[in-house]
């Protein structure tokens, strides 16, 4: 069992390293500390971070806790040059759009709409972490079903799939 200060330090280090939200359960597993203690500690840390004009803060999201910059400083952070930016190709965008709006969806269904083979594009979307395999469709051949990921929401700045722009005429 860690001391109080070490517990906070460990949590801080873990949240710093991880760029994704981490659940209380995973933290409890890593730190060998009961969830209830962690919850209290995290709440205290959030308050401490927010008390001053800190540049970073701990954010509580639906999928867990994560560390991020304080939005107050976003006007300064935009002045920084960003990592290599990459746009999705038109073809990738098409496949991704079909998956986003019709999920869960099979490769054949995507290809029927696009009119072209799409296996390589699906593979690269999987690689980019924008989509995942989510089970199999209960039809002959049991084709793989695809859905979008949290990463997809992050890239497009959406809080949830419910916030996808509404299609014309639907």
């Amino acid at each position: 069992m860690l001391m109080w200060d070490e517990l906070k330090g460990s949590i801080e280090a873990i949240l710093f390293m991880r760029s994704e939200p981490i659940s209380l359960e995973e933290l409890a597993h890593i730190l060998e500390t009961p969830v209830a203690d962690l919850k209290l500690t995290l709440e205290e840390m959030i308050i401490e971070y927010n008390r001053s004009k800190r540049g970073i803060q701990i954010i509580y999201t639906a999928s867990g806790y994560m560390m991020g910059t304080n939005p107050e400083y976003s006007n300064i952070l935009v002045r920084m040059e960003k990592p290599v930016k990459r746009k999705l190709s038109q073809a990738a965008m098409e496949a991704l759009a079909i998956i986003a709006y019709k999920q869960p969806v099979t490769r054949v269904e995507i290809e029927q709409i696009r009119g072209v083979k799409s296996d390589r594009i699906i593979y690269s979307l999987l690689e980019k972490g924008l989509i995942v395999e989510a089970g199999h469709k209960a039809v002959p051949g049991k084709p793989v079903l695809y859905t979008t990921t949290n990463e997809f929401l992050k890239v497009f700045g959406l809080p949830s799939l419910g916030e996808l722009p509404v299609l014309e005429g639907e």
Binding site: K87, L96, A97, I98, G115, V155
Partner: protein
């Protein structure tokens, strides 16, 4: 004596030599060259299939060892005063230095590995661990996604039956090949793949363009280049084809 050691497990002749020195608990500064040479060669002989390129380095060391062994066996001429210097230096010195150097960096490699594994206290930085890829961030606009989707849907109803049909006779692929060449000639930098299809009035014509393009690529009149998975495909005339 039988060895179960696979030569592939060694990263080079020095690694194998070091293994033999350690296994026999020899003093690295006073290696019995004859013994170590015999064991080394025995190892090479016990190896079956082996990458010829890698084997070269092992064989080179074997010939070096044999040479060293013969020099050690030769009695020194007590009346030869001209080679006084030779008497002071041990012919093994070079080998000893090589082994010591190699041993030092082999250890350093293990220390680095332990650092990477966190066996020693270390600093962790954000987003490390992705050794291969440079950092990159996908930028995308939700409106673009919506546009892509609605365009797809709009193109569906009247065209769907055409999806898997070849172009009808009214569109000639040879004509399209001519048209493409003429067009590409005016674009010395090449054009983006998708732009090509903006010239098509319908899906059949687009397909004809595509078949024409494939044919031109096959005939090596045109090349298509893509720098990365998500980057645009650039179509241009082959250099020298005017």
């Amino acid at each position: 004596m039988s060895y179960v050691v696979d030569l592939d497990a060694f990263h080079g002749p020095l690694d194998l030599l070091l293994y033999l020195v350690e296994k026999n608990e020899l003093d690295i500064y006073d290696i019995p060259v004859a013994v170590i040479t015999d064991q080394y060669i025995e190892h090479l002989q016990s190896t079956g299939d082996f990458d010829l390129e890698r084997m070269g380095d092992f064989i080179l060391m074997a010939s070096y060892l044999l040479n060293l062994k013969s020099r050690m066996l030769l009695p020194r001429n007590p009346f030869d005063n001209e080679n006084e210097e030779d008497e002071l230096t041990d012919p093994r010195d070079e080998l000893v230095q090589k082994l010591l150097d190699y041993k030092k960096f082999k250890q350093a490699a293990q220390d680095l590995l332990a650092l990477q594994d966190g066996d020693h206290n270390r600093i962790y930085y954000r987003e490390h661990g992705n050794l291969a890829e440079p950092e990159e961030q996908i930028v995308a606009d939700i409106k673009v996604l919506l546009n892509a989707y609605s365009k797809l849907l709009n193109s569906l109803p009247d065209e769907q039956s055409d999806n898997y049909h070849l172009p009808r006779e009214d569109i000639n692929i040879a004509d399209k090949m001519e048209e493409l060449i003429t067009y590409l000639r005016s674009k010395s930098q090449g054009i983006i793949f998708q732009v090509l299809f903006s010239r098509a009035h319908n899906r059949r014509e687009a397909l004809a363009f595509f078949l024409a393009l494939l044919e031109l690529i096959r005939l090596q009149k045109v090349i298509a280049v893509q720098d990365g998975i998500f980057s645009d495909i650039i179509i241009r005339l082959r250099e020298g084809d005017e």
